[in-house]
């Protein structure tokens, strides 16, 4: 949608946005040549449609967070939904005896690197215990 100042035959520029308040957005456009201004007032359906398209009046977010739209618009969601890098490192990992034994069968010089890769893979995916199945998944995912 674009707005034209009929008197000046000039496109109007976004001046400011307000709301939503009681489901309505106020979007003000101003003519760059004359004092003329116009306010577009949306009804709740129109407001929600703009929100559903995940576009920003006035320009985009500088750097949106991952899944920002879903996390901010899902009315009912799981608590503690996601874990960032910082907290992921605090999860203690336990090696299942069978998995530990399997790692020992690898050449000695690569065991430290393999252990580190597998532990990082497991921590990123929320595993607290490294089993042989986790090792298989890591092997496929990381191409070990």
């Amino acid at each position: 949608m674009k707005f034209l100042c009929v008197a000046c035959d000039e496109p109007m520029m976004l001046n400011r946005t307000e709301g939503p308040e009681e489901g309505s957005l106020t979007v003000v456009f101003a003519c760059p040549r004359c004092p003329n201004k116009v306010a577009m007032l949306t009804n709740p359906w129109e407001t929600q449609l703009v929100r559903a398209l995940d576009v920003r009046l006035g320009g985009p977010d500088a750097s949106p967070a991952p899944l920002q739209f879903i996390r901010s618009t899902l009315a009912r969601k799981r608590e503690g939904l996601e874990v960032t890098d910082a907290t992921a490192k605090t999860v203690p990992l336990v090696w299942d005896p069978a998995a530990a034994e399997r790692l020992k069968r690898a050449p000695e010089f690569i065991q430290p690197m393999a252990r580190q890769s597998i532990e990082r893979f497991a921590a990123e995916r929320g595993y607290s215990r490294i089993t042989e199945q986790v090792m298989d998944e890591a092997r496929i995912a990381l191409g070990l």
Binding site: M1, K2, F3, L4, V6, D9, E10, P11, M12, M13, L14, P20, E22, G23, F29, P44, W45, T47, Q48, L49, R51, A52, L53, D54, V55, R56, L57, G58, G59, P60, P66, L67, Q68, F69, I70, S72, T73, L74, A75, R76, K77, R78, E79, G80, L81, E82, V83, T84, D85, A88, E124, R125, G126, Q133, D136, E137, A138, R139, I140, A141
Partner: protein, 294 residues
């Protein structure tokens, strides 16, 4: 007086630019995915999700890297079928790490975001009344965000498990215009075939999507005692339908009650019953996919 096309820009929001940028980010994210395959049925209840899971597992067991996006936002089942419910989603380097299921299958599903079995998908709004006005747009945006913001990594196959309905493919083809393949699931009944024909038309003629083929699920019932296959429905002629519509017939997978039991346990049937007729049928379909999509 100037017309719409005479005016460059939109006064400062650059809405079209924002939409284009989202498309570019999505394309960049999926650049490392070799094949994106939308699995749809048109008709509900044909076992589309079970097909997605077991085909993905068959391919993953052969060493392919495979992901599944559960695109059925309102009836998500893939997380349950792959035993990843409750896995925390980790954010790393600006992207969400998908849940990882058996055979390393990477999964993202709305189920991972919902607090309980009884919780439907509800979007925050002043009122849910008349939500039909904007709900569709909301869901497409959510799908786009799932695709864009998930660190899928390098994948050989990304399956999109769509909800039933011939209109559903339009949502994802609009998001992914380049090279998406469509795999249609049917059962051997004329009622299902009726809707399959519409799905093929939508995929091929309206959306210009490549139809990878038609897969018949529950084509027969193999007796667990004697191993003799018996017809479950009457012979609906899925292969004939594929021939008439000019699309590949990928094969017929027999009904096995253990498929549902494995789904409930969160383990793909094909990994637990490798020598069963159904697993062998999935293997044949997987081989067709490997050959046709090479």
């Amino acid at each position: 007086m100037k017309k719409y096309s005479d005016i460059a820009g939109d006064g400062g929001s650059n809405i079209l630019g924002q939409v284009a940028e989202k498309g570019e980010r999505l394309s960049a994210r999926l650049r490392a995915v070799k094949w994106t395959v939308a699995v749809l049925s048109g008709k509900g209840g044909v076992g589309k999700s079970a097909v997605s899971v077991n085909l993905a597992a068959t391919l993953a067991a052969r060493g392919h890297t495979v992901g599944i996006l559960d695109a059925d936002l309102n009836g998500p089942s893939i997380a349950k079928m792959l035993g990843v419910r409750g896995q925390p989603l980790r954010i790393r380097q600006g992207a969400v790490q998908p849940a990882v299921g058996p055979a390393g299958i990477r999964v993202l599903s709305m189920d991972l975001f919902l607090p309980g079995d009884e919780t439907p998908v509800l979007w925050d709004a002043p009122t849910q009344q008349d939500s039909f006005v904007w709900r569709g747009a909301h869901e497409v945006t959510a799908l786009r965000e799932f695709l864009t913001d998930t660190c899928w990594g390098k994948l050989d196959f990304l399956f999109l498990d769509l909800p039933p309905g011939t209109d559903r493919l339009a949502n994802v083809v609009g998001l992914l215009p380049e090279g998406i393949g469509t795999l249609i699931v049917t059962i051997p009944s004329e009622v299902s075939h009726l809707v399959v024909r519409k799905s093929v038309t939508v995929a091929r003629e309206l959306l210009k999507s490549r139809v990878v083929g038609l897969l018949e699920n529950m084509g027969a019932y193999v007796c667990a005692h004697c191993g003799i296959p018996e017809t479950l429905f009457h012979d609906g002629g899925s292969a004939r339908i594929a021939w008439e519509m000019g699309i590949p017939f990928l094969g017929s997978v027999p009904f096995d009650p253990r498929i549902s039991a494995c789904s409930d346990r969160g383990l793909p049937f094909v990994l637990d019953h490798v020598d069963s007729p159904a697993a062998k049928a999935f293997a044949a379909v997987a081989t067709r996919l490997e050959e046709d999509l090479r």
